[in-house]
């Protein structure tokens, strides 16, 4: 029996938070949709192997910021991003960067589960196939199995890998999407309200998964649920009207936040 309990280890890990290196650095990030400015000089760094939650009222820019991290905004017409975002040392807005490769390194899970209209197996194998990460049948079998294991779905689907992914329940579909994201071995996983379409049990399973994935990946999650942010994250960033209001340890954020606007928002008071 180890002397240090799991809780104590966790606490020690959390206390070391301030020494955790940055995986992604966002410097003076601004986003414009045509004439409209959606983000104002946001400086937010994402720590390695940490779950960072982005919270704030609707239209505050949290999803916009999330989408700048793997250049999802590129797909929106007349969306312009200024400032600098680096992944490790690489400037992700450098014209020399291959966006497809970037999105393999920074994966994404969306609000609504969106499996491909293919089999469960093919949903997971798709990424490794297009990125050339697996070649033989044995390699594909292995990557599919490990990814489904990591997403906590293997036991539920191992006997029906060739049935359509769309036939799974909502919660299972979302975990399939997480398995699909994990299959290409990304470094960072972005999640945009991954549980808002799920019931509490499916939500709990996804949250447990996020907790486990933290060991191998860096996770950024946008959520409307304060309690979810409190439950799954170690760092929390609060956005308001396109500005980053406060970024702090989650424990501090939910017991004694520094900013009045954070306080009002998380307590459900009139700002």
């Amino acid at each position: 029996m180890n002397i240090m309990s799991e809780a104590a280890v966790e606490k020690a890990l959390d206390q070391k938070m301030n020494t955790v290196p940055y995986k992604m650095i966002g410097k003076d990030v601004s986003v414009y949709y045509g004439e409209k400015r959606a983000l104002f000089d946001v400086n937010l760094n994402i720590r390695e192997n940490t779950v960072t939650a982005l919270i704030g009222p609707s239209g505050c820019g949290k999803s916009t910021f999330l989408r700048t991290l793997n250049r999802m905004n590129d797909t929106i017409e007349n969306c312009r991003v200024t400032g600098k975002i680096t992944l490790d040392e690489d400037d992700i807005y450098d014209p020399a960067i291959d966006v497809v490769e970037l999105r393999a390194r920074v994966g994404m899970v969306f609000q609504k589960p969106n499996p491909f209209p293919k089999s469960i197996f093919d949903n997971v194998a798709y990424g490794p196939r297009i990125h050339g990460l697996a070649r033989t049948k044995a390699e594909f079998d292995e990557v599919v199995e490990t990814s489904l294991h990591k997403a906590g779905l293997w036991n539920e689907v191992k006997d029906r890998l060739h049935e359509p992914g769309t036939g799974l329940s909502g919660g299972q579909q979302q975990r399939l999407c997480i398995a699909r994201a994990v299959a290409v071995s990304p470094e960072v996983i972005l999640m945009d309200e991954p549980c808002s379409a799920l019931d509490p049990i499916a939500t709990a399973k996804v949250e447990e998964l996020i907790h486990e994935l933290r060991t191998n990946f860096t996770i950024v999650i946008v959520t409307h649920s304060m309690q979810q942010a409190a439950r799954v994250s170690q760092r929390t960033a609060m956005f308001h009207l396109g500005n980053l209001v406060e970024e702090n340890d989650t424990d501090k954020m939910f017991t004694n936040p520094d900013d009045q606007r954070t306080q009002d928002y998380i307590m459900g008071r009139f700002g």
Binding site: M226, F254, T255, N256, D264, I266, M267, R269
Partner: protein
């Protein structure tokens, strides 16, 4: 602080605040009456204090229940969470204050008619006055939530400790003078200790209020001037 979007939430928090204030008022009254009963050997008054304690116990239970329901329903965070946790702690401190008052009241029977010297009774009264001032002020601070005032109350507990120590010494002297004083004086010693404890509870409440208002624990050790634990020890 601004209002909650859900007004029922504000009502629940207001309920806790109101009940705490009521408890505070009753606890204060019980302590005052118990000392008066002791000094005047008033058995009827002592009996009233003893029966009032059940009201205080019930209030603490109700506050605890309401707090649990509010936590379960609202999942409070930050200042709201501190407010509710603080209410639970303060209610339990006030319930203890009531218990101490009741304990003093119970001793009235043993002490009554033993002819305690006026001087001793006055000493006890003075100690109780100080503790009551502490308690009253801390309840005012609860209403205002001023962390500065909470801190100043905390620093004043020293005064009560000092008087308690001198009363302790006096009681020892009386016991040594005449063994027949031992019974009443022992009871009075417990009464004095009870009152000194009430000061400590007032200080606890001040610390809780400080935490509720700021989210931080008050800094530094609590000032202490209670030397009775070594009093009478033989020096080398």
């Amino acid at each position: 602080m601004s209002m909650h979007i859900m007004s029922a939430y504000d009502e629940e928090l207001k309920y806790l605040t109101r009940r705490i204030s009521e408890m505070g008022g009753l606890a204060e009254q019980m302590v005052g009456e118990s000392v008066r009963a002791l000094v005047n050997s008033d058995l009827a008054l002592a009996q009233k204090v003893i029966s009032d304690d059940t009201i205080l116990d019930e209030a603490e239970r109700q506050i605890g229940e309401k707090a649990i329901i509010t936590i379960a329903k609202r999942q409070p965070v930050a200042a709201d969470l501190r407010e509710i946790m603080g209410s639970i702690r303060i209610a339990s401190d006030l319930e203890r204050v009531g218990d101490l008052g009741k304990n003093n009241a119970k001793r009235v029977i043993a002490v009554a008619g033993s002819g305690i010297p006026r001087k001793l009774a006055r000493g006890l009264e003075h100690l109780a006055e100080l503790a009551l001032v502490q308690l009253k002020e801390v309840l005012d601070v609860y209403a205002s939530r001023s962390p500065e005032k909470a801190n100043s109350i905390r620093e004043r507990d020293e005064e009560i400790d000092a008087i308690y120590t001198s009363l302790f010494r006096e009681l020892l002297t009386y016991m040594m003078e005449d063994p027949r004083n031992i019974t009443p004086c022992t009871h009075l010693l417990f009464c004095a200790k009870n009152i000194e404890r009430i000061g400590d509870h007032a200080t606890n409440i001040a610390e809780t209020i400080y935490y509720m208002a700021t989210g931080a624990q008050p800094e530094g050790e609590r000032p202490k001037d209670d030397n009775t634990s070594t009093l009478g020890a033989v020096k080398d």
